[in-house]
């Protein structure tokens, strides 16, 4: 009996209730959002999903596609942060430079003369080669930065973040000087994916490009997962993360693995830039925007976890698209606020992010 009383008391403990509060709010908010979108949605563009399921599914697919794009750009940032505890503030600048390198490469291959090339005159190689060249160049740049500036101050988190900030300032200025004055330039997707496919559901014709981007996001995620959890290098990396000194004592060359991680993480920034620049464009100013996108993804998802980055990207992408589509038309300016409500809820509920380990 007294056991039971203690349990009841424990359950009614105010601090416990307080701790559960964020969970309650999150659940209530999600439930409300779901009901709103599915059945209610007055004064919105599309009306409730039950009346217009096609618009609902398009928004859903858009959310997933945008999440894939976010994940590709953020994965490099998440990788470097998760495995090396380096907040690479130059990620945005790597992205920027990578995007322009890919653009110049495609222009060179397809002889665009610095004009946008219609997708019909681009073949698969004219997209793949620029993406690879940009990734390798930026990977190499990242490697140099890591070897010269970040190798000798392991563990000094803030100092490393500051060093990458300084580097990002330099790169951003150099891009304006040497790459089309940093003005907006867009790549083209290969022509054969630039079409619609019939999804055989609610009569939706959906862009194949967006499906390809989604697939690329999944592909990057799966490859990273295989690499980290199914290969020897990945094992060493994880060992190095868990106990740096023990790993090196066991004869593991931790510096080498860190170098590899930085190469891959930087290369992913450039690959992400190639995708984003093909979907839209690359231009100065985007460096900051995409660094912050990556940051939000990583903070929501949980720092230092690939799954976290996936979850963070999905939540961010879905909330972003649904808020823009399912707010009353007079209030769409508040769409961005919902991304932040999401952030606040996650951080209030799990300060380490959805999949993060407690710091």
């Amino acid at each position: 009996m007294s056991d039971y009383a203690a349990t009841v008391r424990a359950q009614l403990d105010p601090t416990r209730i307080l701790r559960l509060l964020p969970l309650g709010i999150t659940l209530a908010a999600s439930a409300f959002a779901l009901v709103w979108v599915l059945f209610w949605a007055p004064h919105t563009n599309f009306g409730p999903a039950i009346d217009h399921p096609d618009q609902f599914f398009i928004t859903l697919l858009n959310g997933i596609y945008f999440a894939a794009e976010l994940f590709i750009v953020a994965s490099g940032f998440a990788l470097i942060f998760g495995l090396m505890r380096v907040v690479n503030m130059a990620h945005g600048s790597f992205y920027l430079l990578g995007g322009f390198i890919a653009y110049d490469m495609q222009q060179h291959m397809a002889r665009g003369g610095d004009f946008f090339i219609p997708s019909s005159s681009i073949n698969a190689w004219e997209w793949i080669v620029p993406a690879l060249v940009a990734s390798i160049c930026i990977g190499a740049l990242g490697l140099v930065v890591q070897q010269v500036f970040l190798r000798w101050n392991l563990g000094q988190d803030l100092r490393q973040a500051l060093i990458t900030i300084a580097i990002s300032v330099i790169i951003a200025d150099q891009v304006i000087t040497h790459f089309h004055q940093g003005l907006a330039r867009g790549l083209s997707w290969p022509g054969f994916i630039d079409r619609f496919v019939n999804l055989h559901a609610f009569g939706i014709q959906y862009s194949l490009i967006k499906l390809v981007v989604t697939a690329l996001g999944v592909g990057v995620g799966v490859l990273l997962w295989l690499w980290i959890y199914r290969t020897r290098t990945g094992m060493i990396i994880r060992a190095g993360v868990d106990d740096r000194q023990m790993a090196s004592a066991l004869g593991v060359n931790i510096q080498k693995t860190f170098a590899i991680v930085f190469f891959v993480g930087s290369a992913l920034a450039a690959f992400g830039a190639t995708v984003v620049a093909s979907q839209g464009n690359v231009a100065t100013g985007q460096d900051g925007a995409w660094l912050l996108n990556a940051l939000v993804v990583v903070v929501v998802g949980g720092m230092g976890s690939i799954f976290g980055a996936v979850a963070g990207a999905l939540l961010y992408g879905l909330v972003f698209q649904f808020a823009a589509s399912y707010l009353p038309t007079s209030a769409t300016e508040y769409a961005v606020v919902f991304t932040f409500i999401l952030l606040a809820l996650v951080l209030g509920f799990r300060p380490q992010g959805l999949f993060g380990k407690p710091g």
Binding site: F149, Q255, G288
Partner: protein, 376 residues
């Protein structure tokens, strides 16, 4: 033992003299050099104002172990709230036309409340996580004000400098007034921080910084201490926001964007994250660089002065992670002969790099990894 004591006292004496001279110089500056209004009206006033924000960052970092990137967001929020409340007529935003002092009080109050909220959310994180979460707060504030047109939108709110209290007057015609007000507020904030860190709260905060687990087991509420410290820093940042709005006259989402956030961090780092005085030193050096490093061409690379600023910052971070105040500590140690601490940080670092490279060249010696305590 004796030599250490001498070292401390001599260093202290030197610093006191330097600080005294500096204060006197600054106090008479507008009287002596009043003709050059740019220094009074911009560089120094901005140094005091932005230095306060930097001091709030350094306060959190040095005594709470929290490096916050939300301080710019907080002073920007304060400026935008002030702008919405105080302007009237055709101004953008809400243009409520409140009386200036009331608006200032409300803006500082609202900002402090937001800071407490931010602090409560972030208080359970530490280290680099804290940095990232607070940066996220900055992003939230920037995007919120950038996209919600009700509060001024992307263009922000201009003309705030024409709605100042009588005490401040017209910043353009009487720049010295705002100069002295900013100077006074800066000194008050400095003394406030010095006072707080000696109170039981401040001492407990430093305990939380060094040994959070032990403090918790001693019965201290660790998140609460962090939250309160953050709220306090938010209060200081909001003072900076008011001064900024009065002196610049316009506050916009651009005031609290990523570039500005990084700028404040740069200021704090140039000054040195370990000592409060560094905030104003860093701010001064930053504004001086911004102003005077201009018509320089960059050899080989090309590019504008931004490249140079990047390199200067890079050099400071690499050579002296504790900024100019750290450099000062190093110089005094060297000059007054305190060899107890061994050779100074950058030299040790440099020597390590060189010897490391040497071993690698000779093809021997496995790479040593060295787990070092966080110095920043």
């Amino acid at each position: 033992m004796r030599s250490l004591g001498t070292f401390q006292s001599r260093k202290q004496a030197t610093e006191r003299t330097a600080a005294g001279t500096m204060l006197v110089l600054l106090a008479i500056w507008p009287l002596v050099f009043s003709s050059n209004s740019y220094w009074v009206g911009y560089i120094l006033t901005q140094t005091f104002a932005v230095g306060i924000a930097a001091a709030s960052l350094i306060f959190l970092s040095a005594y709470g172990g929290m490096v916050s990137l939300a301080q710019v967001a907080l002073y920007g929020i304060c400026g935008l709230v002030l702008g919405n409340l105080v302007t009237s007529g055709q101004a953008k935003g809400l243009h409520l036309g409140w009386s200036p002092w009331l608006a200032v009080a409300a803006a500082v109050g609202i900002t402090t409340a937001i800071a407490l909220l931010f602090g409560a959310i972030a208080s359970r994180s530490a280290g680099i996580y804290f940095l990232m979460i607070t940066l996220t707060f900055g992003v939230i504030a920037n995007t919120f004000f950038g996209s919600v047109t009700t509060f001024g939108g992307f263009s922000g709110i201009a003309g705030i400098d024409t709605y100042t209290p009588g005490l401040v007057g017209n910043h353009v015609t009487q720049p010295a007034r705002l100069y002295y007000i900013a100077f006074t507020v800066a000194i008050i904030v400095y003394l406030l921080i010095r006072y707080i860190v000696r109170t039981p709260f401040g001492i407990a905060l430093q305990g939380v910084r060094d040994e959070p687990v032990r403090m918790r087991s001693l019965g201290y509420n660790v998140p609460l201490h962090r939250t309160l410290a953050f709220g306090l820093a938010g209060f200081m940042a909001s003072l900076a926001g008011v001064l900024y709005a009065w002196s610049i006259g316009v506050v916009a989402p651009g005031t609290l964007d990523l570039a500005s956030t990084v700028d404040l961090l740069v200021i704090a780092v140039i000054g040195g994250l370990a000592r409060i005085e560094g905030a104003w030193l860093g701010a001064f050096v930053f504004f001086a660089i911004q102003t005077y490093v201009r018509n320089v061409s960059v050899p080989v690379l090309g590019g504008s002065f931004n490249t140079i600023i990047g390199f200067i910052f890079l050099a400071i971070v690499i050579i002296s992670p504790n900024g100019l105040m750290g450099l000062w500590d190093m110089i005094t140690r060297y000059a007054f002969g305190d060899r107890g601490g061994g050779s100074s940080e950058p030299f040790r670092e440099l020597r390590r790099i060189v010897s490391d490279a040497w071993f690698r060249l000779k093809g021997g010696a496995p790479t040593r990894t060295q787990s070092r305590s966080e110095t920043l």
